[in-house]
Point group: C2
Chain length 152, copies 2
Amino acid sequence: MELGAYLPYLVNRVGQRFIGDMTPVLNEAGVDIQSWRVLIALYQRGGQPVGALSDLTSINFSTLSRVLDRMEKRDLVRRRRDAEDARSFTIELTGNGRSVTEKILPYAAELEAQATGDFSEAELATLRQLLGKLYAGLDGDREQPTDDRLAG
Amino acid sequence: MELGAYLPYLVNRVGQRFIGDMTPVLNEAGVDIQSWRVLIALYQRGGQPVGALSDLTSINFSTLSRVLDRMEKRDLVRRRRDAEDARSFTIELTGNGRSVTEKILPYAAELEAQATGDFSEAELATLRQLLGKLYAGLDGDREQPTDDRLAG
DNA sequence: GACCGAAATTTGCACTTGCAAATAATAAAG
DNA sequence: CTTTATTATTTGCAAGTGCAAATTTCGGTC
């Protein structure tokens, strides 16, 4: 086994860099990385129960619960009791949450663009597709349908 | 922007899964994820100063210092003062560290194999290459030479 | 050969994390 | 309608984490 060929290594290395490069922008906006993950998930998928949000963001259940505490304090999200099932909350963006997200998004896009400056459209598409396929091949136990939809 | 097309999202999602799937095996061996990262880095690259190890593993400097404390306690690594420069330590695997690593490696390989079961050799090579390229495109500020060598 | 800025590593501190147990609400059965 | 099993979420606790400051050593300069 060669380190530079070991996929978990290659993947997490890139992931860490994305995080490292995003952090200064997020700090300036007073948002931590986990909150940012939640923000984009909600921004694009709309209100979600905590469980779905945990799947969506890969943030641990209990951790997410406390991330939401922070976010609520900073008026980024709101917990609304589900009318159908009172065990469940729907987490939704506040107006402020939406506006903060929209302020950060351009930087996120720019970072991605910078990282993929040397990529052709075809390469980009391939990379996305292969990452999706890789994800699908991991931990097949979890509910596949949901995950597949996410991968789309 | 679509969530499923956003690279940081796709990458970190896969990374989290790799970690999640590896954790049970690591727990059984009494090793945490960070220690595992250090183990494979040392196993493949040999003794390293803390700084290089931090680059190699993407683990924050101060965090790594304490990860090494844990690892030293569990007799996985040893700190040896550099003869040339007494500010620096060379971190090296102990015999036990090597043997623990070799015990875990097959599972790591199996996990990767399982995740990439549907991949052709060509796809695998492409994925690795594109991840390397993506890494290179990120955070161009850091010392490129070192990073490029690592990406090899 | 004492002085000063820079480099390698560690530590203080306040905050974040994940596991497992607790809470709260629903659903199904008797 | 009480009991019991199940699901959604939160919390107690013991670690783990990152930032910024401290420590130790180096290399050059006066």
